[in-house]
């Protein structure tokens, strides 16, 4: 009887194990196919970027018959835009290097601010008890739960009224709030850190600023570094913010957007367009490849409960 029930238990475990294995093998295959679809995307771009214009138009899914690497140098020379600059009040031509400079400034600046401002709020709320702390935390949750309101119209209105519309520096400073975006994640990380080092430092006479910048900040750097990589990749390809708030400082993503928009007028063929896309994607591919270890070490925690 006992042996029988044991066999039943074993049988049910075996069945559950088979179901589990089948499930994960299926999804493992799906994951590989999913990843392959993106790899194909890059391959397709590479393949078509070195084709002759006509061949690419007629046979976009065939391998190239001849390789035209000159497409890259042509694309490089063509990545420039001429448009109205609202600040200088005249038409300005932006070369690849102008846009590259704006891309670097925009990506680095925006990403640093999107991490540093929430870090300030998250650190204080996680490590200090003071009157109003719970209110501030509830407010942060409220901001996240409340739908992003008509902020676009009013944000444009306020920025124009304050005279900071179309100003990259002011946009960087004001775009990210301390209680939004990365706040919850950094709050979770700051709360989870041991206070032993801070106590020891305090006994040695360290002040609040020293504890914050020389003890907790370095401990949070792996997470912040990973957030920087993710934020940088997002900002590098962000052309919507440029269209909306910063039209006079076009970055490469915006340049490529216009490249595509004006392709017909400027007689830009598909291979040239793809070459331009690949030139622009190169820095982000390098950043992503170099930051694999950092990304893997990032802690991700954060719930909406106070």
């Amino acid at each position: 009887m006992r042996a029988n029930s044991l066999t039943k238990g074993e049988r049910s475990f075996k069945r559950a194990n088979i179901i589990s294995k089948t499930f994960f093998i299926t999804f493992n295959i799906l994951l590989i196919l999913y990843a392959a679809s993106f790899l194909y995307l890059v391959f397709w771009c590479l393949m078509n970027s070195v084709k002759d214009s006509f061949y690419a138009a007629y046979y976009p899914f065939r391998l190239p018959d001849k390789l035209f690497f000159s497409n890259f140098s042509y694309a490089w020379s063509k990545i420039s835009i001429t448009q109205w600059n609202g600040v200088l009040q005249k038409n300005v031509t932006y070369t690849y290097w102008n846009m590259f400079f704006y891309s670097v400034c925009f990506s680095v600046g925006m990403t640093i601010m999107s991490i540093f401002t929430p870090f300030l709020a998250a650190y204080i709320l996680a490590r200090y008890k003071f009157p109003g702390r719970n209110f501030l935390f509830s407010m942060a949750i409220f901001i996240m739960v409340l739908p992003a309101m008509a902020s676009l119209a009013s944000s444009l209105y306020i920025r124009k009224q304050l005279g900071i519309y179309d100003n990259m520096l002011f946009h960087m400073i004001t775009a990210y709030g301390g209680f939004e975006g990365n706040f919850l994640l950094l709050y979770g990380v700051a709360k989870g850190l041991s206070g032993d080092y801070a106590e020891a430092a305090k006994m040695d006479g360290a002040g609040n600023h020293t504890i914050m910048y020389r003890i907790f900040l370095p401990m949070m750097l792996p997470t912040m570094g990973a957030l920087f990589v993710i934020g940088f990749l997002g900002s590098w390809n962000d052309y919507m913010t440029i269209i909306t708030y910063l039209p006079s400082t076009p970055n490469l993503a915006y340049g490529v957007y216009l490249f595509k928009e004006n392709a017909t007028v400027n007689q830009i063929s598909l291979p040239i367009m793809l070459s331009a896309y690949l030139i622009i994607a190169l820095p982000t591919i390098i950043v992503w490849t170099c930051s694999q270890k950092l990304i893997r070490g990032m802690a991700v925690v954060g719930g909406l409960k106070g």
Partner: protein
């Protein structure tokens, strides 16, 4: 006398200690005030004031020189008239599209990445390479992803024509453009499995995993009974914050259509974005009214979603 002197010295010491503690407390509060000053100022000006301004704009008329005049409920009347118009159904359609796309897309993009993320976390075969490749849409420009997708969809009719099957151009045909855009959002929306979920699983106490292993848990049961409950608060954050932007996010349409997306595929957020940005200051009042209407609808639903998600928390549910 000796005793009195001792008592006095002690109280002096206490006084000093108390003074020192008070000084430390004041310094700490000062430090808190200094550090929090910028986040609070930023919040007051660019969140609170922006949103108050947004409410005011909904009741105002703005001219090209940004002068605001009170406009009563006219913006809301115009928005309601457009919403219930029999001739032009674009706004109504965009509203429905937003919800349909959100639910259709997110059923996939909130569930599949968890499983994919678990596979990456468990380092199953080829998952390391897959992890690298899955992030490609976030690395390369969305313009590039959309262009390749566009080319693929445009070439389908030609490919199938060879087999004698008639396939329409699914990006142009109004009967399919919405579904095609939804599919695209699903395809590019599962990339969170590469970073977020594996790292979340990594944060879970390894003792729980060991205990599950000793109890003879299968991998599927481990995922369902150990890992998902542990990361549930973070999943709740993703779902709730994602839902709250349902009527305000312009989504992926801009990369395909610019500001000219057909109404069959447009979403509410996209319409508000296009009207705010390209309609000029004279449209600010109308778009602010549209957005305010969106907030009134979405906020209670967001709270409901938050409540339901927290009810589903098997560890912390109260």
């Amino acid at each position: 006398m000796k005793y009195k002197y001792k008592k006095q010295a002690l109280s002096l010491g206490q006084k000093e200690k108390r003074l020192g503690l008070m000084k430390e407390k004041v310094q700490t509060y000062l430090f808190i005030a200094v550090v929090l000053a910028w986040p609070i100022v930023q919040f007051l000006v660019f969140w609170l004031y922006t949103n108050i301004q947004s409410i005011m704009l909904a009741f105002a008329k703005v001219d090209v020189d940004l002068n605001m005049t009170f406009n009563g409920l006219n913006n809301f009347k115009a928005a309601f008239a457009d919403f219930f118009s029999k001739e032009d159904i674009s706004l109504r359609r965009a509203f429905i599209n937003s919800f349909t796309r959100y639910f259709a897309t997110n059923i996939v993009t909130y569930t599949i990445p968890i499983i994919f993320g678990f596979i990456i976390f468990k380092k199953l075969p080829l998952s390391g390479i897959a992890r690298y490749c899955v992030m490609l849409p976030s690395i390369i420009s969305s313009m590039m992803t959309s262009l390749v997708f566009e080319q693929l969809v445009h070439s389908l009719p030609k490919l199938f024509a060879g087999l004698g099957i008639v396939v329409p151009d699914m990006l142009i045909d109004p009967a399919y453009s919405f579904q095609t855009m939804t599919f695209y959002a699903m395809w590019t929306g599962c990339t969170s499995c590469a970073i977020m979920y594996p790292n979340m699983f990594n944060s879970v106490d390894s003792q729980l995993h060991e205990a599950a292993e000793i109890d003879g848990c299968t991998m599927l049961k481990e995922l369902w009974h150990v890992y998902i409950p542990c990361i549930w608060p973070t999943i709740t954050t993703f779902v709730v914050t994602g839902f709250s932007s349902i009527l305000s996010s312009p989504g992926v349409l801009f990369a395909f259509y610019g500001d000219q997306a057909p109404y069959e595929t447009a979403t509410y957020g996209y319409m508000v974005f296009v009207k705010s940005k390209f309609g000029g200051p004279t449209q600010y009042g109308y778009t602010a009214a549209l957005s305010l209407m969106g907030v009134i609808i979405v906020y209670p639903l967001t709270l409901l979603i938050k409540y339901l998600m927290e009810k589903g928390d098997r560890i912390n549910a109260s």
